[in-house]
């Protein structure tokens, strides 16, 4: 993960991943964390270490964006908001808007990807 990508995550989310002290509240409250390959608190840890390939990360598409973790995060790191930023970065690649008519295989796309694509503002 490049420094540039890290900077963008922070810029879009407005959150500071370095505040995370790995209490695991996010993973505990996450209704779908059991289905995640990398758990929410682990993702934040990998982001701190800048050692994660976000393109290959499946967990952010499992995330329901229910924002329970945001509600309970004791340090306002707010994983849910950070994931939303990551989704936008992976999907948009600098594009401001998405042309729905160009999307292929719509039925195979994770729901979260569609929502993230359509969201203009986050946080």
């Amino acid at each position: 993960m490049s420094n540039e990508l890290y900077r963008k995550i922070v810029e879009i989310s407005g959150r500071n991943p370095y505040l995370c002290y790995q209490c695991g509240t996010c993973t505990a409250v996450c209704p779908v964390s059991v289905f995640m390959d990398v758990k929410p608190h682990q993702i934040i840890r990998y982001i701190q270490l800048k050692r994660i390939d976000l393109e290959k990360l499946k967990s952010i598409w499992t995330c329901l964006a229910c924002m329970a973790c945001v509600d309970r995060c004791p340090r306002h790191v707010d994983p849910g908001i950070i994931f939303e930023a990551v989704r936008n970065l992976v999907l948009r690649r600098g594009e401001d808007a998405v042309d729905y008519f160009k999307l292929k295989d719509l039925d195979k796309v994770p729901t979260m990807a569609l929502i993230a694509l359509s969201r203009k503002m986050t946080g």
């Binding site: 790995q22 209490c23 695991g24 509240t25 993973t27 505990a28 758990k39 309970r72 004791p74």
Partner: protein, 645 residues
């Protein structure tokens, strides 16, 4: 005025200043400043040889003003002031120029700019010192008596230390007995001595000490005066039982028809409206809860010694004291606010003090750990640390003692239920203290306690009455579901310093309500108002040993002031030009220390109360108030000197 002969002493502070600021250039430029006759630089001006440089130069060069360009006045003003005085110069003819914090540290990336800024800062200090008047400290008398507010372990320790030194003490306690929160505890970490066993002898000592006057069921309602000379008004609520007559026979308690939750057991048991919080209470007497008493008079009839008087009225007592020690203690963070844990909703979710009561042999269950819902034995128990603490949604700070007492709870549980299962959810284990780490190790080693690094998401009750605790183990990344009989929340500590009282005492409070000390390291028991000291958890979360240490420290600070016999105060205070004052009273209303009063229609500053903040000087519409050595004229010269380069 005589000609200025100012010496400037420039400190390198190792590389702290010299690494960024070009000292050579500063020396050269400062030599050119008006009034400067001597400039010297040195690697560590605060060291003995450095101070000697100042002392000797004053004598040799006949200096009548000194500027030390170094760190900050809060760090080393006093150090250099003494060196200046050793040289025979009045300390108010010396100023510090802060070239470390204000220049070298903040501009380390810009050496040239930092050097220039350092020169300007020094120029300002030189301009100021050349107009400084020599001043003498202000002296005043001291009443040799101390008021201690709060009768917990902090207040008791402070009171006993003072009383043993021969100083009369007024100890004011809100509840019917002294002892505080410590009296509620079972055993104390890390040595596991029983709280009652080490506390009650101290309580008895307080009760019989000839130098301690104890007011229970009382609160301080008003404080007037200033350091060394406080007048306090104490509201004494009616106890309605004469403690001198009461023999604690308990007849009254047996006939009393009113039942209310017992706060000493944190609601786990009931007490009557006439009650004694615990058998070893001091004073050893019953008290009537006036809020709940129906005045049925049954107790009066059965009392064999006629100690009860239901018509007793509240009383206001006035006392004069020289110093005040605030030791109002702490409370637990309201567990109801942690909705996800079900505190207040499920009977078997309790707080740490309630668990202490369960463990205590004098507690509601006689020391038996049982499920509060049905009285059945507890097999599986979950402890949740940082319940409210280290959480931006609740208390951002660490409450410091929960790691240790939870480990103690786990140990005491395992001693009683050897085949029980203990699960402790934690974020980090903080066991900094003598014997603390060893204690945690012992709990893990001997009792095989399951420490789970992670947090709990929610707790609910299943149909068998067991609590289902769902959480995460962050080390394995797995979700955990634990069925527990009892869940204990290690709730955070919050201060119990009433805002009203704090305002009356002029004790500043930090953002969380804890009393704000003057300096966290060097002046930990003093507050901004001279003569008022703090001790115990009111200043910040702390355990018993730290509380006792701090209480003794506060007592010794008060003693220092009282035994000296008089108080000396900084003379840099406001002065009123009575010819100019038009009696508008703006200064009276603006003074944060109540130091100004109107005498014969003109403002008068109480020299012993004024802290020299300068608010009145700024507010005075006719320029009649001046802060000594900070007059408008002086400050204008300083600004000119800084900007004129």
């Amino acid at each position: 005025m005589e000609e200025s002969r100012i010496g400037v002493f420039i400190c390198h502070c190792g590389r702290n200043i010299a690494g960024t600021v070009d000292i050579k250039k500063v020396v050269e430029e400062v030599k050119k400043l008006p009034g400067v006759v001597y400039v010297k630089d040195y690697i560590y001006m605060c060291s003995d040889p450095g101070q000697k440089l100042i002392t000797e130069a004053i004598k040799r060069e006949k200096l009548n003003g000194v500027v030390v360009a170094a760190c900050t006045p809060s760090l080393h003003y006093e150090t250099f002031a003494r060196a200046v005085e050793a040289g025979g110069l009045n300390r108010f003819r010396y100023e510090m120029a802060t070239i470390r914090e204000h220049s070298s540290w903040v501009h380390f990336h810009d050496k040239e700019g930092a050097t220039e800024k350092a020169i300007r800062i020094i120029a300002g200090a030189v301009a100021k010192v050349s107009q400084n008047k020599p001043l003498e400290p202000i002296r005043g008398k001291v009443t040799k008596k101390v008021l201690v507010i709060g009768g917990g372990i902090a207040g008791m320790t402070a009171a006993l230390d003072l009383a043993n030194a021969g100083i009369p003490v007024i100890l004011v306690e809100k509840s019917p007995t002294i002892g505080g929160k410590m009296a509620m505890l079972a055993e104390t970490f890390p040595t596991l001595d029983c709280a009652q066993c080490i506390l009650t002898p101290k309580m008895a000592e307080v009760a019989r000490h000839p130098n301690i006057k104890l007011y229970t069921l009382s609160e301080v309602i008003d404080i007037e005066g200033f350091v060394g000379n406080y007048r306090v008004r104490i509201l004494k609520h009616p106890r309605m039982v004469d403690p001198d007559k009461c023999t604690v026979c308990s007849f009254c308690e047996r006939v009393c028809p009113v039942k209310v939750p017992n706060e000493f057991d944190r609601g786990l048991s009931m007490r009557k409206a006439i009650y004694i919080p615990f058998p070893q209470a001091v004073p050893s007497a019953y008290a009537i809860d006036t809020e709940h008493c129906t005045k049925c008079g049954l107790c009066v009839k059965v009392c064999p010694v006629k100690a009860i008087n239901l018509d007793e009225k509240e009383e206001i007592i006035e006392e004069e004291v020289g110093a005040i020690i605030v030791a109002t203690g702490y409370d637990l963070y309201p567990g109801e606010r942690l909705k996800e844990y079900g505190y207040g909703k499920y009977k078997n979710v309790i707080d740490s003090l309630q668990f202490e009561r369960l463990l205590s042999t004098s507690g509601p269950t006689g020391g038996q750990i049982v499920r509060l819902s049905d009285g059945k034995p507890v097999k599986d128990i979950v402890f949740i640390q940082c319940a409210g603490s280290r959480d931006e949604n609740h208390l951002p700070y660490c409450s410091k003692i929960c790691c240790m007492y939870t480990a103690k709870h786990a140990l005491l549980f395992k001693e009683q239920v050897p085949d029980g299962n203990v699960y402790i959810f934690y974020i980090d284990i903080r066991a900094a203290g003598k014997g603390y780490e060893e204690f945690i190790k012992r709990v893990q080693e001997e009792f095989h306690v399951n420490y789970i690094r992670g947090r709990v998401s929610k707790i609910y009750e299943d149909e068998d009455g067991k609590l289902v605790v769902i959480g995460t183990d962050t080390l394995t990344g797995e979700e955990l579901t634990i069925k527990a009989d009892l869940v204990v929340l290690a709730l955070g500590m919050i201060p119990t310093l009433d805002r009203d009282l704090a305002a009356k005492l002029k004790v500043p409070q930090d953002e969380y309500g804890f009393a704000q000390e003057v300096h966290p390291k060097l002046r930990p028991v003093e507050v901004a108002t001279t003569g008022v000291f703090v001790a115990g958890a009111v200043q910040g979360p702390k355990d018993i040993s730290e509380t006792v240490t701090q209480a003794s420290a506060a007592a010794s600070k008060a003693l220092q002031m009282l035994l000296y016999g008089e108080i000396t105060r900084e003379p840099v205070i406001a002065e009123v030009d009575r010819d100019r004052c038009n009696g508008c009273r703006i200064c009276v209303s603006i003074c944060p220390y109540d130091a100004i009063s109107m005498v014969d229609g003109k403002a008068k500053v109480n020299e012993l109360v004024c802290e020299g903040c300068g608010a009145c000087e700024a507010a005075c519409p006719v320029d009649a108030i001046k802060l000594r050595n900070y007059t408008d004229q002086q400050l204008h010269t300083v600004i000119k000197a800084v900007l004129s380069r």
